[in-house]
Subunit: 137 residues, 2 copies
DNA sequence: CTATTTTTGCAATACTGTTGCAAGTATTTG
DNA sequence: CAAATACTTGCAACAGTATTGCAAAAATAG
């Protein structure tokens, strides 16, 4: 409960109902959340615009990070390993369960380096693995 | 030119203007294409719906594959290494240039295997690397 | 060339995301 | 603690993106 306040303060964000609620959702949820999930789970207590802006703010502050998908949706997840200043978000692997459709951050699995062809300079890498998760096994 | 017909026949698809044109676009383009690119480059000769349906059909047949991104757009690219039946699409690395914004399939760079925590079974892996490409170096 | 199957385009609809601005809420400071 | 300031929210309007049903048109099979 206090965790939420700490995070907001630490990032010099005003403490508002919306931000508290949305942060709590992320903390409570195991996996990643899409914008639509959040709207549903807050029972439309907040304006769509507010949710968009809150997510954007959280991404900028490095509180959450975005996960790439192939289905035209963007997923968001908490940065657990207290990443600083919005850097280093993408160095863990994301797992999407094809059974329960949950997206899980494998915080302990780092994205391996790959050898790129001559002339390509890597800056950031993202990796998404699809398969069957722990709960569905 | 004939390549296009071959591909369509091989997948038992009717040969139509739209499909031919869109396939030609993919063959001509080095990188990946978004739905919007295709609409622009066909000068709106085809209905938006037709483009959507064509892309969907091509994905189902395994002619093209989707590339995950974090900005709510889906990119499509040709499967070069004649993947069969829609399998094995995601085993090469995709590169997005942060300078020119092109997305390039690195067909020769395969996605490395990662060790997942106990209980997770991988089926498919996708990897996207962001950085500076050959042309922008 | 005709019959059948497949694909297209239109219309309607729904979802997703963004911006400006006024009103409201949170924080700062004296 | 109250007033001043700064920040956040909600509304309205808008733009872009994606989906579905159905009738017309085109492609393929016989």
């Amino acid at each position: 409960m206090n965790e939420v306040l700490q995070i907001l303060k630490k990032n010099s964000l005003s403490v508002t109902e919306g931000r508290k609620k949305i942060l709590e959702l992320f903390i409570a949820s195991e996996g990643a959340l899409a914008h639509a999930d959040i709207e549903k789970q807050t029972s439309n207590n907040f304006d769509r615009v507010t949710v968009y802006r809150t997510l954007q703010t959280f991404v900028e502050k490095g509180i959450i990070h975005q996960i790439p998908t192939t289905d035209n949706s963007v997923l968001y997840a908490l940065c657990r390993h207290n990443c600083e200043q919005g850097h280093h978000h993408d160095n863990h692997v994301h797992f999407i369960c094809s059974n329960c459709d949950k997206t899980i951050c494998l915080d302990d699995v780092t994205v391996p380096q790959v050898k790129l062809p001559e002339g390509f300079t890597p800056l950031q890498s993202a990796m998404v693995v699809t398969g069957i998760c722990l709960d569905c096994a």
